[in-house]
Assembly symmetry: C2
């Protein structure tokens, strides 16, 4: 049997652990995997494009476990009452090839994206950062706010969205969680006084959410929304003033903010900062930019973390996804009539 963590189980797991401890644990799992980056097999995602969206597979392996995520991106879904992004993932044992976990990853992707953003900021933002602007207050915004509060000590969030209802939804969800939440009338107003600027808008097009004059010295920019070819959020001039950090350069050149820059423009991979082989922020006046697009290793870390949590709390179901045969040469035998054709899971030999 293969363990299954569905949407309901994921909600239970997060509630049982507590959202912020869950985000902190997830951040630790991702950080630990980033620090051993070279152990991983790295492939660009495998995308299937249509006129209305994309379906992607994102595999990786560290030699012990293999993981992949299925994720779609359909901007027009929102108008139909469906989610833009849904996802699920699978973790397997490399030594046998058998899957060991199937998990929902719509919620988990939101959690791991926020945990990765906060992990990057822990290494790149000024340590005294307390105020974060969030431009774009859709599905990812609350996760970002709470991950930064838990992991980098953010105390105030300044919200802006072209749709005021989105900001109100975000503020309502964040109420009572110890954060000072301010809804701002403009992006300019939101970034004023912010130590960290998170951009996480959803339109699939080149946009300029931030212009150069809006970004002052010492700021850390967490650019989450520019994550596919043709979709960026920052004015090019901001990039030229920033020290740029990415997940996996080959993928970010195609999908990230740096698709606006020449192919040889220098960037640093975040794992190098975490492993201590490259510098992060070098002065309090640096502008640092985490050009985040999401990478398979983050999903791998998240699947492993969920598996540990699910096992330790006993929160999972079991799927008969893989036939378990008495005699593996006799696959045909499972179709046989008569007595039970295949062995149940964990059935003790003497059980009734």
């Amino acid at each position: 049997m293969v363990r299954f963590v569905g949407v309901d189980a994921m909600i239970k797991l997060v509630r049982r652990t507590g959202l912020q401890p869950f985000l902190t644990g997830l951040c630790g799992a991702i950080e630990s995997d980033f620090s051993r980056w070279q152990n991983f097999e790295k492939t660009p995602r495998i995308a299937s494009h249509s006129s209305v969206g994309v379906i992607e597979l994102m595999p990786t392996s560290d030699g012990d476990h293999y993981g992949f995520k299925y994720v779609n991106g359909h901007p027009k879904n929102m108008k139909e009452g469906l989610q833009t992004v849904t996802a699920f993932g699978v973790l397997s044992d490399v030594s046998t090839g058998y899957p060991i976990l199937v998990s929902e990853m719509t919620l988990l992707t939101a959690l791991r994206t926020a945990a990765t953003s906060a992990m990057a900021a822990k290494h790149l933002a000024r340590p005294d950062s307390r105020c974060m602007a969030i431009i774009g207050n859709g599905a990812q915004s609350e996760f970002q706010a709470l991950a930064f509060a838990a992991i980098t000590g953010i105390e105030q969030v300044r919200l802006y969205d072209i749709d005021r209802a989105a900001s109100r939804k975000c503020a309502a969800n964040l109420a009572g969680r110890g954060l000072d939440v301010v809804i701002c009338p403009s992006a300019q107003d939101a970034v004023s006084g912010a130590d960290i600027i998170t951009t996480v808008t959803a339109d699939k097009q080149y946009a300029t959410i931030l212009t150069d004059n809006m970004v002052g010295e010492g700021v850390h920019i967490n650019a989450v929304g520019g994550d596919c070819p043709g979709k960026t959020e920052l004015h090019r001039d901001i990039l030229l003033r920033s020290r740029i950090f990415v997940e996996f350069t080959a993928q970010t050149r195609i999908e990230g903010e740096i698709q606006q820059l020449p192919e040889n423009y220098p960037v640093t991979e975040l794992w190098q900062v975490i492993a201590g082989t490259e510098a992060g922020r070098q002065s309090a006046r640096d502008i640092t930019l985490f050009d985040s697009v999401g990478f398979a290793i983050e999903d791998f870390s998240a699947l492993n973390f969920v598996r540990e949590q699910a096992l330790s709390h006993g929160i999972y179901e079991e799927l008969d996804l893989i036939a378990d045969l008495h005699d593996p040469r006799n696959l045909f035998g499972v179709l046989g009539h008569g007595s039970a054709p295949f062995r149940g899971p964990q059935q003790p030999p003497e059980a009734a």
Copy 2:
């Protein structure tokens, strides 16, 4: 909710339909998709190799549906009481990116492989073929025998395996199904008088299951076991005497029997024969060879066929793999306390 066909449901489906009608239906579904080959997105499989095996993802899409299969290959598993090959697959709606079916595919891969072999033979073997040799009597052998009986009218099967116990297992499984089954003392003996020769051995190495002198005029060879780099079953001289048919040339050059031949050696893609744009067998004296390695479109056809069968018989479960939100912008809301945080499936508005 996403529909789920587990191992138990797949067994029930096959029993409900009957194994041979199921194989015939599957063959029709594959044939129909092969006849519209150019509608499909074709990618070589994405493989993750380790020292003991391989894990692969095989995606494809026809623009309406997207499907992929996860499959492993671990030859050493058998000694540990595990299966060499296990698999599962997912079918999605291209217009929304939402998955609509998760299915076991260990059994289904065995069924679709046999159905594809028999479909190829229907187009390539002499129409009067009644006797088939099966060299290699492992997990795939019974499926091959029954697919050929149902689809091409095979009446006698001649079994050979280096392990006599495997032949006995195969013969026992085929008993009472209207086939004349003969266990042979050698491969030479098995192929004697056979119209069709199926090779389906499992060793991951270059082997010579058939030598040139064993293959007479007019025979159709169904070469199933040579299916990855470094694994072949036929002597090169047989290939040089045969008209060779493949699934997807780019993949078969790497994985099939033709990895023994120069890269420009002429082969015909099977879909061209089915679509009527290329000739298959041209005379009763031709040796035809189907160099089968398995291709993503066969899995796609199989997933669609299973979905139809599962829906029409009501044999499936439901998985809460994808969060179903009242307000898709409010993913965070599913974590909320208080009233039911997410909408259940197919819940009528007035239900208690």
